[in-house]
């Protein structure tokens, strides 16, 4: 915990954005290990792949476009510091009334949660309570989250996507060939690693019912493998492997799959996203439902992460080309 504070303060002091972003990656990893200590294995999994992996990467791509140093600000930080101190001390004063950390009879643990812990095995039949709550009891919320992710992906697409002329593609190709000899070792190692990363993502996807994991984590890991490939073999090669319109369709398919599971249970006379309608045996129905919607979540998350990365990186390439042509 003290490490987290130290890293956060270092982030405030740094002017070099590259160092700031690296530190925020470390910060993500530290908070992931904290989550493991707090028994939140699923959350730690997500944070490690998102906070320490993808977000660091996206920020790095962003600073290659926006410049890496920060101007010293001219206005006085004292006012801001005062506001922060006052708010902080008020919040600390607020914590004095809070129940102590880790007690089993805290109000948080007395409502709703016991039901999940005691009954989820009979009702849903999935050992990982986090998965059963995420995908079954609170499936409606999760549907909302997936739509938010989808919307964010579309937003990035709207902000950054570029119409590509055939001439540009040829040019990128020639750049690609010239750097073919570089990064040889990295490329070979990556070539060996990528199948395992993909396999691991699939394991996480389908094993989410029994161990930590699920659609969100699997999606991020899967996307990480694709992004690794794109980084080492060049954007145009990656574009040839994964078609842009195909991946966009994939993002939509994920959301639609999730939604249609809900609609099917409606048509069968149960509530929206009530999976017991999917099969004669309610528990088997729950299993099927969770599997399908986790798949939907996985599709959308993978597709959106890949879309975001491709658009950022594609934008950068275009910028470089423009700069080369202009002077």
């Amino acid at each position: 915990m003290a490490f987290l504070v130290a890293v956060a303060i270092a982030i405030v002091r740094m002017k070099d954005l590259f160092a700031v972003i690296m530190l925020s990656g470390i910060y993500g990893l530290l908070s992931a290990s904290f989550f493991v200590a707090m028994d939140a294995v699923d959350v730690a999994f997500t944070e490690a792949s998102v906070g320490a992996g993808i977000s660091t990467l996206l920020m790095l791509v962003a600073i290659t476009m926006t410049g890496r140093t920060e101007n010293p600000s001219r206005h006085k930080p004292l006012l801001a510091l005062a506001v922060v101190t006052v708010t902080g001390s008020l919040l600390i004063y607020g914590t004095l009334d809070m129940p102590y950390f880790g007690l089993a009879q805290d109000p948080v643990h007395l409502h709703v949660a016991p039901r999940y812990i005691n009954d989820s095995m009979q009702e849903v039949g999935v050992p990982n309570i986090v998965t059963s709550v995420l995908a079954s009891y609170r499936a409606f919320d999760t549907f909302g989250e997936v739509v938010v992710i989808f919307t964010a992906g579309m937003g990035v697409l709207a902000l950054l996507s570029v119409v590509r002329h055939p001439k540009d593609i040829a040019e990128i190709d020639s750049i690609n060939k010239s750097m073919h000899e570089e990064h040889l070792i990295l490329r070979i190692v990556a070539k060996m690693l990528i199948p395992f990363i993909l396999l691991f993502a699939l394991y996480v996807q389908f094993h989410g019912d029994y161990g930590p994991g699920g659609g969100f984590q699997a999606g991020v890991i899967f996307a990480a493998a694709i992004i690794l490939y794109a980084m080492l073999f060049g954007m145009s090669t990656a574009r040839r492997v994964i078609n842009q319109s195909f991946i966009q369709m994939f993002a939509a398919i994920g959301v639609l799959l999730y939604g249609s599971v809900g609609v099917i249970s409606l048509l069968n006379g149960k509530n929206f996203l009530d999976y017991s309608a999917l099969s004669v045996d309610p528990v088997a129905g729950q299993h099927l439902g969770i599997l399908l919607i986790e798949l939907g979540v996985g599709f959308t998350v993978t597709a959106v992460m890949v879309i975001i990365f491709f658009n950022f990186a594609g934008r950068r390439k275009d910028q470089q080309n423009k700069e080369k042509n202009e002077p």
Binding site: S73, L96, Y100, H109, G214
Partner: protein
Amino acid sequence: MIMGLYNYWVVVVLMMVGFYIVIAHGNLIKKIVGLSIFQTSVFIFYISMAKVDGGTAPILAEGIKQYSNPLPHVLILTAIVVGIATTALGLALAVRIKEAYGSIEEEEIQEKDNLDC
């Protein structure tokens, strides 16, 4: 008391550090990093609340009586992934601002705007 509330205090400190970055720094990328620190502090807050002494991870197994509370885990798990999606959207906006204004420093952007008027 110190041990009982230590986690919450760290959360408050982290939250304030993030808040400070957001209000005191002019660089848009730095602001986004600050926001994500703020966000993580909220995650830590929820996960700390979910912890039960002597409990284990909420995956049902034989012979275990005490589990940590799974509900906050679910909320935060989805929040993290939504967080990265919104962060990406913020970065995309920053990139577009850089293209339109040639800078991501708040003050310079303000100056350009004032000149245009």
